[in-house]
């Protein structure tokens, strides 16, 4: 198979994008760790981190990262029912319900994080 086998079909290309999203997940972790380090080193360091984070290329990189994070999360949740078979009172929980549960969990955690960040 050629190096560009994944261009041949849309589903293959989408799969490769999904796998590539792991790189951006890793970047978002590094970005957060840098923030933690800056905060630990005091206000001056924190300010310079904020200035660096506001430079156009970092903003651009982070916009792309958010897009890939959303892709990563959505594809992950959509694939969850394939790996998990849950039985409740002897009946198999429909795959859509398992995915819905994952989405609800995502929303709840996101809401808690927003609440933590927004409340003074």
């Amino acid at each position: 198979m050629s190096t560009f086998w994944w261009i041949r079909r849309r589903s293959y290309a989408f799969f490769v994008l999904r796998e590539l999203s792991a790189v951006f997940v890793a970047w978002s972790v590094v970005f957060l760790l840098l923030l933690v380090r800056a905060v630990a080193r005091g206000e001056a360091e924190y300010r310079s981190y904020l200035d660096w984070a506001a430079t156009p290329w970092v903003v651009l990189l982070n916009v792309v990262t958010v897009a890939f994070l959303v892709l990563h999360a959505i594809t992950w949740f959509n694939l969850t029912p394939a790996a998990m078979v849950v039985r409740l009172r002897g009946r198999r929980v429909p795959p859509a319900a398992i995915a819905a549960g994952a989405y609800v969990g995502w929303l709840v955690v996101s809401a808690v994080v927003v609440w933590l960040v927004v409340t003074p």
Partner: protein, 247 residues
Amino acid sequence: MADTITLQVARYRPDRETAPTVEEFEVPLRKDWAVLDGLNHVKDHLDGSLSYRWSCRMGICGSCGMTVNGEPRLTCATFLVDYAPGPVRVEPLANFPVIRDLVVDIGDFMRKLPQVSPWIVRGEEKPVSEGEYLQTPQQMEDYSQFSMCINCMLCYSACPVYGLDPEFVGPAALALAQRYNLDSRDQGSDVRLDLLIHPEGIWGCTFVGECTRACPKGVDPAGAIQRYKLTAALQTLKSFVLPRGPR
């Protein structure tokens, strides 16, 4: 509706040519004709040398898998009218070596299949006088979906992992292993574990999911493999926590 449709058929006759070519045939376009009927028309009336596999014509034998307009399909269940006005491109299954025209070498799959022990393995058989191994409808439901596999190999043709790494055990064999692992009468999951958790087993799968989309019988090999990954991960965890416990 036009009376005919063009079939663009991949030809490869190793005695005559070194690389595959494409030959066009005009075949009648009838509402009830599948691509396989078109190929049979070619064989019977236009060129008797065309080689391809087929048998039951009803989606059970799994012989007539080919690539139709780029998609792995059972040619007996793929209708010409859905491709009208054509042309319809018919090629051998991807990811397999071609022997002649539309016939591929399935030896690799036939070697891998028995490795997963796709039969009921018993520690000890009970005597016939004690009767059958009984099963509840729910126990049957656990595996019945995976037992629908007809070994047509469309999933291998759709799987880019298999295309890139022919050592990969592959979707159908892994789904069949899971079919027997989930069977309440089976006691062979330990026998299958070592092969399945091999890097070329379940962990070779990156969950592209194309096998499930290609499957004409709704088997969902991708789902079977991901479920087994969860089982295998729990098994490994258990063997760390309880190294002396039974597997």
